[in-house]
């Protein structure tokens, strides 16, 4: 029969540092068996198993604990040790199962946005953006530097959250839930700010249209746009995709298909600046990067040497 209480209600011994460290390592496999039904459930259970085995010496209690820890679970893969520490401290105190479940579910949600803001929006753009440019200029140290930065941050976060949250136990969840709303809002502000910055920083789409005024004078349309505000086209395209995704529920795949069409139609008419990489027999690249099918304007002739 399902029971809300463990058989053995005597609090177990505190988990030792070695077991906690083992679980820090195991937390890397949170998504090993990710699936659409329970998401990270089996990986979550796998991660905390060394602790559960030590806490529940009674086999029925271990089965009960494994059972409820195999329910739907989904949180941020890099911050999961925070929840692990709290849940393990509750398991160790032999709290009743509904409480453990409630705490687990309450904690898993807010961490998602925070983790995305910290890792995918801050750490990766900074580490990868900086090292990708090193790689493009042929610096072989770039991938190593990326791995070092990313993994040092990752493991420090995993380690500290695990040990601290286990130590603070249920207090940690109090501190967190007390400020959860404000914390989530602040993390969102940082995230939104960074996204706005990325649109400008990584927006590389430009026009190549030029208007021939005769006598070697041209109006470069891109320069006119830059006079209004630089990076206007990336801003407009992002807003357009945002509108499609938000208001019309477009899938990423559909948006990408649309952008491929926009890209190809644009180069068909010679609107976008782009490089085909095609070279002729003498190794010279095509003026303007490519030859549009419809040619309705003259490119400025590059100054002769």
């Amino acid at each position: 029969m399902e029971s809300n209480l463990y058989k053995n209600l005597t609090p177990a011994q505190q988990l030792d540092k070695r077991t906690l460290n083992k679980m820090v390592w195991r937390s890397c496999f949170l998504q090993a068996s990710f699936n659409y039904e329970r998401m990270q459930a089996a990986g979550w259970l796998y991660s905390i198993l060394p602790g559960l085995e030590k806490i529940h010496t009674d086999k029925d209690d271990l089965a009960a604990s494994m059972g409820h820890n195999l329910e739907f679970f989904n949180t941020h893969p890099f911050l999961v040790t925070f929840i692990m520490g709290i849940v393990l401290s509750l398991e160790q105190q032999k709290a009743d199962i509904p409480t453990i479940r409630a705490v687990r579910v309450a904690a898993m949600g807010p961490l998602g946005g925070i983790g995305d803001a910290l890792f995918w929006l801050t750490l990766v753009p900074i580490a990868a953006g900086f090292t990708a440019n090193m790689a493009i200029s042929g610096n072989w140290f770039a991938p190593f530097l990326f791995l070092i930065i990313f993994n040092v941050v990752q493991f420090v976060v995993r380690y500290v959250l695990m040990h601290k949250s286990y130590e603070l136990g249920t207090q940690a969840i109090d501190v967190f839930t007390k400020n959860a709303k404000e914390f989530t809002r602040a993390a969102s502000i940082l995230g939104v700010f960074i996204v706005g910055a990325l649109v400008s920083n990584y927006g590389g789409t430009t026009l190549r249209i030029a208007v021939d005024l005769g006598g070697g004078e041209y109006i470069i349309i891109q320069e006119v746009l830059d006079g209004v505000i630089p990076k206007l086209i990336p801003l407009i395209l992002t807003m357009m995709i945002y509108f499609l995704v938000k208001k019309h529920n477009w899938t990423p795949t559909k948006c990408i298909a649309l952008l491929i069409v926009i890209g190809l139609v644009g180069t068909f008419f010679g609107i976008w600046a782009g490089d085909s990489g095609v070279v002729d027999a003498d190794g010279n690249s095509i003026p303007g990067g490519y030859t549009p099918v419809v040619r309705w304007y003259e490119l400025p002739t590059p100054p002769a040497d």
């Binding site: 890397c28 949170l30 090993a32 068996s33 990710f34 699936n35 659409y36 796998y46 198993l49 089965a63 494994m66 059972g67 195999l70 989904n74 946005g113 995305d116 990868a128 953006g129 900086f130 990708a132 790689a135 493009i136 042929g138 610096n139 072989w140 770039a142 991938p143 990326f146 791995l147 990752q154 404000e182 969102s188 940082l190 700010f193 996204v195 706005g196 910055a197 649109v199 400008s200 990584y202 990076k231 801003l235 992002t238 945002y242 499609l244 995704v245 990423p252 795949t253 948006c255 990408i256 952008l259 890209g263 180069t267 976008w272 600046a273 085909s276 990489g277 095509i286 990067g289 490519y290």
Partner: protein, 266 residues
């Protein structure tokens, strides 16, 4: 250019490992900046692999697995971009464009795996009921094995097909340079999808101002050549300052209005 059996086997092994790494383990080995030079080294041109990896990395920055959404797959996209750049000698940006269909294929491989893995959960429930610790471990290993194998097979097929058609692709590219340029342009545009999805998840109405503030600060910094490297770090500092200020203001206001703050002492 054709590849030998050994190269196929090594690429399969690398794919197997990084396919698992994209969700488990270090979750960083799979990034194109790492995979590019490794695959490049296997195929005999590490330098091209490095450059393609860096180029593809910049594109994937916008399309991270945020909020559980699956972006076009960086693992298969990165590997195939490297294969194309080396086998067909195309510029990195165009190779990245050619890899896009394969990245989408990889996205399907991921969603398929996540679907076929669901029935395994009833098996896991049985193990849990028996307190079978080894059984849970086994489930995880089986799942990782399925994912790695599926990705390996997709890359093998794509590599063989991509190399077999390389001459045809080169001729096609010379006669239709607008297509290659269009793919490269679209490749750059794809990051806007990633940005838009981030905005959908995080951008509630009251936060629009912060979005444009980030855009404005980045545009200012973008005009300063010497700051192009540290630009994002500087921006993160500005953003962090704003976020911390907002957090402090809101928690203080909440404490005041709820009659708290009795520990303030003044």
């Amino acid at each position: 250019m054709s590849f030998n059996v050994m190269q196929y086997i090594l690429v399969f092994i690398v794919t197997f490992i990084v396919a698992i790494d994209q969700f488990s383990f270090l979750q960083s080995l799979y990034q194109p900046i790492v995979v590019g030079p490794v695959v490049g080294a296997i195929l005999g041109d590490m330098n091209t692999g490095l450059i393609v990896g860096g180029t593809y990395q910049l594109i994937t920055i916008g399309s991270m697995p945020i909020g559980g959404a699956q972006p076009p797959n960086a693992v298969i996209g990165g590997i195939m971009a490297t294969v194309f750049a080396i086998a067909q000698n195309t510029v990195p940006a165009a190779a990245v464009g050619m890899a896009v269909p394969f990245a989408l294929l990889g996205q399907y491989a991921v969603t398929t795996t996540f679907t076929i893995m669901s029935p395994l959960m009833s098996k896991a429930d049985q193990y849990a009921a028996k307190a079978d610790v080894k059984g849970i471990t086994k489930i995880n290993y089986i799942s990782m094995g399925i994912l790695g194998t599926l990705f390996g097979v997709v890359v093998m097929v794509a590599m063989a097909a991509g190399v077999a058609s390389s001459d045809a692709i080169i001729n096609f590219a010379a006669n239709n340079s607008w297509v290659m340029a269009g793919l490269a342009v679209a490749g750059v545009m794809m990051r806007y999808v990633g940005f838009a999805i981030l905005m959908k998840i995080m951008l509630s109405g009251e936060l629009w101002g912060f979005y444009f503030m980030g855009f404005a600060f980045a545009t200012i910094l973008g005009a300063v050549k010497s700051l192009q490297g540290p630009a994002l770090l500087i921006l993160a500092m500005i953003g962090l300052a704003i976020a911390i200020y907002d957090f402090q203001t809101n928690t203080r206001m909440r404490d005041l209005t709820s009659g708290g703050g009795d520990d303030d002492g003044i």
